[in-house]
């Protein structure tokens, strides 16, 4: 049982990364517009995050120091501060979107205007950060997030032409009504969602919070090999649902409420309820992930005591930063900014900043003074990781121009 519960750090990280507020909508929108023609990007993204999350977890388990702690030490304070400012800003955008997303999910069941729920959600997020032990937190939201599997059930119940779906996924082409630019833009958005930097900040910090040591390297592997492919599966299921149910009826997706439509029409009310619980857990999980990450990266850069494994009094500045981040996110969300747009921008901007995060991980995972000779990267891992670094660099260069050319995919 402990073994099974042990993988929920990976599950929560992946759900918060793959199917948070913006990604839920982005996945459904992709399915409605492109069918399964972009499914391959999710697979590419899953492999990338598995490789890098495994590395970051291994580093954390062996030297008890998460990624951002080592960024400044290895790459210097200037590079570190540039990375910190960029990551923190992207993280704030995501946190804002998640706070609004949780409020929207709650407003769907309560029919209270979501803006009124935003402060309530912010307090709830903070309370969990303040009081709930880390292990309980990862299990509760990881398990509830599994409710999103109802999207996979929906696809199965529709009984689609599997050959057609498989054909689209394996021999992708740009649909006639789309341009190569919008295709590339959506591809980058999906890739950015799979490899969002806060996933590795949270995952490696979580490994330290959970007290992993060299003996837990198998647990690390199980976490990434179960968690992230599961996140990818959920994202593909949402995409397929939108393609099968919404596209034939010419329904485009630009709101959270439309994401769950296919489930409601195929599985019914119970299915919808399960989907809403899943959406609530995923957005709430992502809010926890990003608010904690805000505190983690600042504390790691400056060498402060941090984390939920010490009492709040023992990590005072860390908790102050988390509190301020949640407060700021609440204030931005309450102005009524469109959370879908906010995450879209944050994902695409994070795609531009990805190499800043992943390059240091690769450097540290190859350094025997930190890892010992036995635990440095194998040649195989280095080969894949290097290929991904090239992909990340290409993506980073193309992101902003594509965003301008396609007017953010519209």
């Amino acid at each position: 049982m402990k073994r099974i519960l042990g993988v929920f750090l990976g599950v929560l990280t992946a759900i918060g990364g793959f199917v948070d507020m913006g990604d839920l909508v982005a996945n459904a929108a992709t399915g409605a517009r492109f069918g399964m023609n972009l499914a391959w990007v999710v697979v590419v993204g899953v492999i990338g995050i598995v490789v890098y999350a495994e590395m970051s977890g291994r580093v954390a388990a062996i030297c008890q120091r998460p990624v951002f702690d080592l960024v400044r030490e290895r790459l210097g304070p200037r590079f570190g501060i540039a990375n910190l400012v960029a990551s923190f800003a992207i993280n704030m955008l995501t946190l804002t979107a998640e706070v609004a997303g949780v409020a929207i999910a709650l407003s769907l069941v309560s029919s209270i205007n979501y803006l009124l729920l935003v402060p309530f959600v912010a307090v709830l997020v903070w309370l969990v950060v303040w009081r709930m032990p880390f292990a309980i937190m990862e299990r509760v939201f990881g398990i509830l997030g599994l409710c999103l599997l109802v999207f996979a059930v929906t696809v199965w119940k529709i009984g689609p032409d599997w050959g057609d779906l498989w054909g689209q996924a394996t021999s992708p082409h740009v649909p006639s009504q789309e341009t190569p630019f919008t295709y590339a833009y959506f591809a980058i958005a999906l890739f950015g969602a799979a490899m969002t930097p806060y996933e590795v900040f949270f995952f490696s910090s979580g490994a330290v919070e959970d007290g992993w040591t060299t003996r837990d390297l198998n647990e690390n592997r199980a976490n990434v090999l179960i968690g992230f492919p599961l996140g990818g599966l959920l994202s593909l299921a949402i995409m397929a649902c939108a393609h099968l149910v919404l596209a034939p009826r010419d329904i485009g997706v630009d709101e959270l409420s439309q994401v769950a439509l296919p489930v409601a029409s195929v599985v019914g009310k119970l299915g919808l309820a399960v989907a809403l619980i899943g959406i609530f857990a995923a957005t709430f999980g992502a809010a926890l992930e990003t608010s904690l990450s805000a505190g983690y990266i600042v504390a790691h850069y400056l060498g402060w005591p941090w984390g939920k494994h010490v009492e709040p009094r023992g990590a005072a500045r860390f908790h102050v930063v988390v509190m301020l981040a949640i407060g700021a996110a609440m204030l931005i969300a309450i102005t009524g900014v469109d959370p879908v747009k906010v995450t879209e921008y944050s994902i695409v901007l994070s795609a531009a900043a990805l190499p800043l995060t992943y390059f240091p991980i690769l450097v540290i995972a190859n350094d025997p003074t930190y890892m010992g000779e036995d635990h440095v990267n194998s040649r195989f891992v280095n080969a894949i990781a290097t290929v991904y670094l090239v992909i990340l660099a290409v993506v980073a260069i193309w992101t902003i121009p594509l965003m301008i050319i396609t007017k953010a995919g519209s």
Partner: protein
């Protein structure tokens, strides 16, 4: 002073994590104090500098760094008269983590932690519980 150890200061010291006598994290090695020996002309690292403003100083933001340092002193936070100076005899060992022989309470780099604890966290109920089971 004892005769020095040969270390690559930038690689083995700068930006490394500091840990106090009791295992608490207490800042990073923000900068180093170098002293040239009058007899031999050799340059020695005589202290680690860590605390408010020190990193900004090193990054060339002297005015901002000085302001931060003064604000911290004006608020009478650091009990440390050296303003973030940790002499070499208070260092137990070097490595990826620099281990100190003094408690964090005596360091300027921990002053902000005290301030946040006494002025913010202490006023919120439930700050004393131990979060990890």
């Amino acid at each position: 002073m004892t005769s020095g150890r040969v270390l690559h200061a930038a690689l083995h010291l700068l930006d490394h994590q500091l840990r106090d006598r009791d295992g608490r994290l207490c800042g990073k090695v923000d900068d180093l104090e170098l002293t040239r020996s009058a007899d031999t002309g050799t340059v020695y690292v005589t202290a680690i500098l860590s605390g408010p403003g020190r990193l900004l100083y090193r990054l060339g933001r002297r005015r901002l760094g000085g302001w931060l340092q003064q604000t911290a002193v004006a608020a009478e936070v650091p009990s440390d008269p050296g303003e973030g100076r940790i002499p070499m005899d208070q260092i137990a060992s070097f490595g990826p983590i620099v281990q100190l022989t003094v408690p964090a309470d005596q360091l300027a780099s921990d002053a902000g932690e005290h301030w946040a604890r006494d002025h913010v966290i202490a006023h919120i109920p439930g700050g004393r519980h131990h979060a990890a089971e």
